[in-house]
Amino acid sequence: MPETPSPNHGFPGRLLVFEGLDGSGKSTQAALLGKWLAAQGYRVFFTEWNSSELVANVIRRGKKKGLLTPTTFSLLHATDFADRFERKILPPLRAGYLVVCDRYAHTAFVRDAARGCDPGWVRTIYSFAPRPDRAFYFRVPVSITLRRKLASRLKISYYEAGMDLGLSDDVVESYQKFQGRLKREYDRIAATDRFTIIDSTRTVEEIQGDLRASLRPLLENFPTGADMMHDG
């Protein structure tokens, strides 16, 4: 079966992106969608934006010395993303996979903007990353993500709360303020980045059903793994 190149990046694969605040449910949905796609016989490559060892080490070192600024923080994450992009995302995209990204460059766009970096500069840095074929934005009020966070009893991390910005000495209050900034940024870029907005206050099943339905046109005529591994 012929593989038609994506109009966005010219590769035979397709790039599906899941964006939204921590606790917006995007990771759950991305994992479920990946399962469903694989079960249908599509070749799926799943990747999440977890800090690599490289970045984790540098951040630990930088934090200890109080050296990290919004600029170094931004460039450090760009390095991490570039490494992940060049080694993990690009090859399956060129090989014709459905690449599912739990967070993509947009995460950097909103975080860096919230930290005061020049948004145009950040965009150019990430210009090696092609526009996704579909980007889902899981939209949810900050109050809900905070409730989920507190219920999970997971510790709110220093940078997740934007403590480096000095918004508040109180972690929870700083978290609310910082996540509010991120949400405003997501909302602001939603139209220009052609986000498919998902109302993430609904049930897991409702949302997953919507995602699957909305991807059907994109999957039409997309070759399955069997099509690619052998003829006929």
């Binding site: 080490n57 540098v58 070192r61 390095t79 005061g116 020049d118």
Partner: protein
């Protein structure tokens, strides 16, 4: 110093003009750059100016990662370029910006231009490299020590006894032959320095000559930054040759 960058605002950077100065000395390995930086620092200090010297890959934030990446040779072009940018940004914010703010002169042994040339030689676009480093502080003076590839080759071999893997651009796979790769790589770099020279107003100094002659030319370029027209402590004896004099006038006009 105006305290301005090449376009991108640095969050948290002082907006007042910085009282100190930023002088950059650029040039390939073997152009006599480090020798000149040492001589220039000595001279400026004798003249009574506080000097902080800085170079590339001297910050301890990511130098371990850069060394490790080089050992493995596994990083892609964008990743490598960005890793160097992190390192530069760290030095810029922690060393370069604070020093002129305190009235000192920062003497940079290479600057963003080398990083840009290397990134572009490895496949990044000029536009991307230029924008990536748009947060860099605009120097008061960029001196470019220009030397022919043949001269660079002889200096490299006489200094190290061999040709360096990275300085020969062997990671680019231009040629399996180290000697040939060195020339191909230096050609690429000098092509990038060529347009950057116009874009960023480099002052070219003929570095095919002896260090003392180079130093005299550099002193003439630096002196006006301090309101002096000629260096009060001349250290070179021989006046520059007429060819280089013409080149210098052409470069600074």
């Amino acid at each position: 110093m105006t305290g301005r960058t090449y376009g991108t605002r640095l969050p948290g950077m002082p907006t007042d003009p910085l009282p100190g100065r930023l002088i950059v000395v650029e040039g390939a390995d073997g152009s006599g750059r480090s020798t000149e930086v040492t001589a220039l620092k000595e001279w400026l200090e004798i003249e009574g100016h506080a000097v902080v010297d800085t170079g590339l890959r001297r910050s301890d934030l990511v130098s371990t990662e850069i060394d490790r990446a080089k050992e493995g040779h596994t990083l892609g072009a964008a990743t490598m370029a960005l890793l160097y940018a992190v390192d530069f940004a760290d030095q810029l914010e922690n060393k370069i910006v604070p020093s002129p703010a305190a009235g000192a002169t920062v003497l940079a042994d290479r600057y963003v231009y080398t990083l840009m040339a290397r990134a572009i030689a490895r496949g990044s676009s000029r536009a991307w490299a230029r924008e990536l480093y748009a947060f860099a502080l605009r120097p008061d003076l960029v001196v470019f020590l220009d030397a022919r590839s043949e001269i660079l080759l002889h200096r490299a071999i006489s200094k190290y006894g061999y040709l360096d893997f990275w300085e020969s651009g062997m990671d680019l796979c231009l040629s399996r032959d180290l000697f040939e790769s060195f020339f191909l790589y230096q050609d690429r770099l000098s092509r990038e320095f060529e347009w950057m020279g116009r874009e960023y107003h480099f002052h070219r100094v003929d570095a095919n000559r002896a260090p003392e002659q180079v130093h005299v030319d550099v002193q003439r370029l630096v002196a006006p930054l301090y309101g002096a027209t000629v260096p009060s402590t001349p250290s070179g004896r021989k006046p520059p040759e007429s060819v280089s004099g013409a080149r210098r006038r052409a470069a600074s006009s």
